[in-house]
C-alpha cells in the first residue's frame, strides 16, 4: 500500500469512527419510525440511502485500515490485519464487512421498492447492527497494543 493511502486510512478514522457511531444511532431512531412511515416520508426517503452511503464508505475505510501497516510494530511491515490475526482473530472483521455489505443491498432495496414497511424496518435495524459490528471490527484491528 502506498504511504498516502496508509496515512489516509489512519487519519480518516477520526471522521469515520464518529460517523459510524452516529450512523448507528440514526439507524436505531429510523427503525422506530420506518415501519409506519410511508416511503415518501422525507426522513425515510433520505435516511435509508444515506445509511447505505455511510455503511459503504465505512466498510471501504475498514478494509483500507486493515491493509495498512500497524505503526506499533515500527519499521516492520505488519498490517493491522496480521496484528488482529495474532491476537483476537480476523473473524469479527470479516463478519462486519459481510454484514455491512448485505445491509447495503437491503437498504437500497427498501429505498427503491415502494411500500414494504417491514423491509424498511428490518434494514434500518440491520444498519444499526452493522455499525456496531464495524466498530467492533475496528476495535479488533486497532486494539491489543
Amino acid at each position: 500500500m502506498t504511504p498516502v493511502l496508509a496515512d489516509f486510512a489512519e487519519y480518516a478514522g477520526f471522521v469515520f469512527l464518529p460517523l459510524v457511531f452516529i450512523g448507528g444511532l440514526a439507524a436505531l431512531l429510523l427503525s422506530s419510525t420506518a415501519r409506519l412511515a410511508p416511503s415518501d416520508n422525507q426522513s425515510t426517503r433520505l435516511g435509508l440511502p444515506g445509511l447505505a452511503v455511510v455503511l459503504g464508505l465505512a466498510t471501504a475505510w475498514l478494509v483500507l485500515y486493515a491493509l495498512s501497516a500497524d505503526g506499533y510494530y515500527g519499521s516492520s511491515d505488519v498490517s493491522h490485519w496480521e496484528h488482529a490475526g495474532r491476537s483476537v482473530g480476523t473473524f469479527p472483521v470479516v463478519l462486519a464487512v459481510a454484514a455491512a455489505s448485505a445491509t447495503i443491498i437491503g437498504l437500497v432495496a427498501s429505498a427503491v421498492l415502494p411500500g414494504r414497511g417491514r423491509l424498511r424496518f428490518m434494514s434500518a435495524l440491520a444498519a444499526a447492527l452493522s455499525c456496531l459490528l464495524l466498530l467492533f471490527g475496528w476495535f479488533v484491528l486497532a486494539g491489543g497494543h
Binding site: G13, F14, L17, I22, L25, L135, F139, A142, H145
Partner: protein, 130 residues
C-alpha cells in the same frame, strides 16, 4: 433530531481527533488553544443537546479504548482510555454548565428573534396607520 445528531458527530470528531492525534500520536500543537476548544466544546454540547450531551463522554471513552498506551510518549504509565475516563468525568460538570446556560440563553435568543421579526414586517402597513 438530525441537527442534534450533527452536533454529536461534530463533538465526537473533535474529541476523537484529540485522543488519536494529540494524545496517541503526539501531534505538536499549542496546548492552551486546544484546551480552550475542548472546554468550549463541552459547554456548547450541553447547550445544544441538553441532557443527552452527558452521554457523549461515555461514547468518547468507548472509542478511545483501542488506543491503549500512547505511541508518542513511550514512558507513559497509564493507558489513554484511563486519561480519557478521568477527563470525561471532569467534562460532566462543564456539560451541566452548558445545559443550564442553554436554559437561560435560549429564551432570550427566541425573544430577540421574535422581536426582530415583528419589527421587520408583521406590523400594520403604512397606509392603514393614522
Amino acid at each position: 433530531m438530525s441537527s442534534k445528531l450533527l452536533v454529536a458527530f461534530a463533538y465526537l470528531t473533535l474529541v476523537v481527533t484529540w485522543v488519536y492525534g494529540v494524545a496517541d500520536r503526539g501531534w505538536d500543537l499549542p496546548e492552551a488553544p486546544i484546551w480552550v476548544i475542548l472546554v468550549a466544546a463541552q459547554i456548547l454540547a450541553g447547550a445544544l443537546l441538553r441532557w443527552w450531551a452527558l452521554l457523549l463522554p461515555g461514547a468518547v471513552f468507548l472509542l478511545s479504548v483501542p488506543a491503549g498506551y500512547s505511541d508518542a510518549y513511550a514512558g507513559a504509565d497509564i493507558p489513554i482510555w484511563f486519561s480519557v475516563m478521568v477527563l470525561g468525568l471532569m467534562a460532566l460538570p462543564l456539560i451541566v454548565v452548558g445545559v443550564l446556560a442553554g436554559y437561560f440563553v435560549r429564551p432570550q435568543i427566541s425573544r430577540a428573534a421574535r422581536g426582530s421579526r415583528s419589527a421587520r414586517g408583521t406590523g400594520p402597513p403604512a397606509a392603514s396607520r393614522k
